[in-house]
């Protein structure tokens, strides 16, 4: 049996904690060479590339796209959004930027139709849903059995630039409401858009008013970190200048002998990169050059962890069980999974039964209709047969009549020929006979005697009679 002895445990990174846990600080007596560790880390990050996601929230036409273009010195997209969207939609687009050896995958998410509706009660909900959806996707990936976090494209929003209209008075109710719903989910940096419409004195008062409103309403905006000495001073100063009053423009104007980005008015030129004119340079510095990494870390360590904790607690997982004993996540997960499976099986059974029942019913109906059809068919067949039989009978009757009639005809012929021979006048009888209506048959009489006496005349008579016998239908 093997025994394991650990001389000291190594948790925590505070000096005091270290001393408490008896971790020795040693000095080395020579150059070892691990000062290159930060460089190794940086090299690996360069290879992997960076990811940064910005969400721009603001009314249509307030200058979000222009500001992003100016920030990153590129022309991202051309067309303007319409003002007639029925509800707020979020549009995300990803771009790859490269500066020397740093590759940045930048995702810009724009709110389309924010503030355009007549009823703005549901304006902020799509934004909140979108942010939550990105957290959810990351959480799902993290909780997978076979996961690949190092190739996962991180789509969580790292910073939200909130564009405030330059009214000069105060925050709009919509702004307050939206920011209050977003502040626990994302780092918010408020900016005053189109700041060239606000004069300098007004601007100062406006900023103070805005900040006091935010504070009094309990909105937590992002504070630039002041714990690291190298950047603490700058960051603290910038914290006092929030919200930044920015002007965005990609148009170039010649000022003096330089060509700068600016907006040209009849009364002057507003230079974007001039610190006296607006705070654009400060925004760019704070957002990109100094604090990008901190923004990402805050998103991951604070906002995402909060979301994760809430979500897992919602699902019923806890760290500490009913008797204050630590409950393993796995056990709870397992129990839940059992439950879920049991329920699912039950539901499946139910559905199966329902399905079977429906099928039976349908079958019964079909059988009914089949039987009816069959009955009808038989009925018709019977009728048909009866008709046939009737017709058969009729036919028989008719045939008998025909036979009877032809017999009659035959006998009356014989009788007539006999009587004709006796009297010798057939012309009259012919005429009489011709006057009789409805008789279809003419007796064909041949007068032998007259034939002999008058040849031609007889022939004509014969012809006439024969013709009339055939002629009458």
């Amino acid at each position: 049996m093997a025994t394991k002895t650990t001389c000291m445990s190594s948790q925590g990174s505070d000096d005091e904690q270290r001393k408490r846990e008896n971790i020795r600080s040693l000095t080395m007596s020579g150059h070892v060479g691990f000062e290159s560790l930060p460089d190794q880390l940086v090299n690996r990050s360069i290879q992997q590339g960076f990811c940064f996601n910005i969400l721009c929230v603001g009314e249509t036409g307030i200058g979000k796209s222009t500001l992003i273009d100016t920030l990153f010195n590129t022309n991202f997209e051309d067309y303007e959004s319409s003002h007639f969207c029925p509800n707020v939609k979020l549009k995300a687009q990803t771009y790859e930027l490269q500066e020397s050896n740093v590759r940045l995958k930048l995702t810009i998410v724009n709110t389309v139709g924010f503030g355009d509706q007549i009823n703005k009660e549901e304006s902020y909900q799509p934004i909140v849903d979108y942010i939550d959806a990105q957290f959810e996707a990351y959480l799902q990936e993290e909780l997978k059995i076979k996961r690949s976090l190092f190739t996962y494209h991180d789509s969580r929003i790292h910073v939200c630039l909130y564009f405030i209209s330059p009214t000069g008075h105060s925050l709009k109710t919509l702004d307050l409401l939206t920011m209050k719903n977003l502040d626990s989910k994302v780092n918010i940096i408020p900016v005053i858009a189109k700041a060239d419409t606000v004069s300098k004195t007004e601007l100062q008062e406006f900023k103070i008013k805005l900040m006091s409103e935010l504070v009094s309403n309990g909105v937590q905006i992002y504070q630039f970190p002041t714990d690291d000495d190298t950047i603490a001073k700058d960051n603290a100063a910038m914290n006092g200048l929030l919200p930044f009053a920015v002007v965005g423009s990609m148009d170039e104007v010649k000022v003096g002998n330089k060509v700068v980005k600016a907006r040209q008015y009849p009364w002057g030129v507003v230079q974007v990169e001039n610190e006296n004119h607006c705070d654009f340079v400060k925004l760019r510095e704070m957002l990109i050059c100094t604090n990008m990494e901190d923004l990402r870390e805050q998103t991951h360590a604070r906002h995402y962890e909060l979301y994760r904790r809430c979500k897992l607690e919602e699902m019923g997982f806890t760290d500490v069980g009913p008797e204050n004993k630590p409950v393993s996540l796995q056990e709870t997960y397992e129990a839940k999974r059992h439950e879920f499976h049991g329920e699912r099986q039950r539901k499946e059974e139910e559905m199966k039964q329902m399905f079977v029942q429906r099928v039976k019913e349908k079958e019964a109906i079909l059988k009914e209709t089949e039987r009816e059809l069959q009955a009808k068919f038989e009925h018709l067949k019977r009728l048909h047969q009866e008709e046939r039989m009737k017709l058969e009978e009729k036919r028989k009757l008719l045939e008998e009549e025909i036979i009877a009639f032809s017999k009659k005809k035959a006998t009356s012929e014989i009788f007539h020929s006999q009587s004709f021979l006796a009297t010798g006048s057939n012309l009259r009888k012919d005429k009489d006979r011709k006057k009789e209506p409805g008789c279809g048959f003419e007796l064909l009489c041949v007068d032998v005697r007259t034939c002999e006496n008058s040849g031609g005349r007889k022939d004509a008579e014969k012809g006439r009679e024969g013709h009339s016998a055939r002629g009458r239908p």
């Binding site: 394991k4 002895t5 650990t6 001389c7 445990s9 190594s10 925590g12 971790i23 600080s25 040693l26 000095t27 080395m28 007596s29 150059h31 070892v32 060479g33 691990f34 290159s36 560790l37 930060p38 190794q40 880390l41 940086v42 090299n43 690996r44 360069i46 290879q47 590339g49 960076f50 990811c51 920030l71 010195n73 771009y95 790859e96 930027l97 500066e99 020397s100 740093v102 940045l104 995958k105 059995i145 076979k146 690949s148 190739t151 996962y152 494209h153 690291d228 190298t230 760019r284 510095e285 990109i288 990008m292 360590a301 994760r308 904790r309 997982f317 760290d319 393993s328 996540l329 397992e334």
Partner: protein
Amino acid sequence: MDPLRRSPSPCLSSRPSSPSTPPCEMLGPVGIEAVLDQLKIKAMKMGFEFNIMVVGQSGLGKSTMVNTLFKVWKSNPPGLGVPPPQTLQLHSVTHVIEEKGVKLKLTVTDTPGFGDQINNDNCWDPILGYINEQYEQYLQEELLITRQRHIPDTRVHCCVYFVPPTGHCLRPLDIEFLQRLCQTVNVVPVIARADSLTMEEREAFRRRIQQNLRTHCINVYPQMCFDEDINDRILNSKLRDRIPFAVVGADQEHLVNGKCVLGRKTNWGIIEVENMAHCEFPLLRDLLIRSHLQDLKDITHNVHYENYRVIRLNESHLLPRGPGWVNLAPASPGQLTTPRPFKVCRGAHDDSDDEF
């Protein structure tokens, strides 16, 4: 070795996968580069952690090697006059050392008693148990609802295995141990006490060991399957050609040609530890500290730890195995000491779906 050499990141595609993104041209400087400085500042503030384990029979110079690597002298020389322990023990010692503003928390785990008994069956079990226990601790921390901002990393990043300089080939104990350990942790084998071999003997020994490793499919660090691109492959191939390094450790300084050097003094000369003509200690030091430290940590975190996590989350002896089953009872150390032999690969398992 160039300290600023790009350290390879251990994944098949280091670039995050995402829908096709159009590259944009920037019309002027923006300042994105400054993020590198931000990273450096953050790293220096947080400090670094590195956990190394040395495994080998007693008397091979493990403790001396650690001292030589990190140039910290312990007050009492180890091993002298102390009889080898009857059973395998694991000693972990943590130091914080600083150089030019960079703080490194170094944990060295020593394994006295390894391979010293008459019957060495399963002598790797305690070691594997220890390594898995560190993974388990990290996993439990990661699974908490309210978890710490920075989870303390006690996982073993590198295991240096000392091969005794027999000059012949790897022994059965070595092969068994290496086979098992290579699947769980990064292993760097070294030829200990190389001053007992001549240059030709060293070369022959090295070739034979490399052959043994190939025959038994033992994948030592730097693993070929984790090479990122052509540059890494070239660099790592050069390293792989020289592994196992023939090293000599020393903690005493002597005067040679007017210079003070670390070395071993014998009647027939002074063996300089940091002289490439004498031994390959500089290569080992550069690999472990100056160029591949971050890479060792990355592979441990992204590959070995993930593999452990998959096994752990799939294991279940009470319930029928299915996709994504989770173990009800916490694992006992004996369960996980001998992992089923499978290839260390990145996510290319053929289990079924991985839905939460």
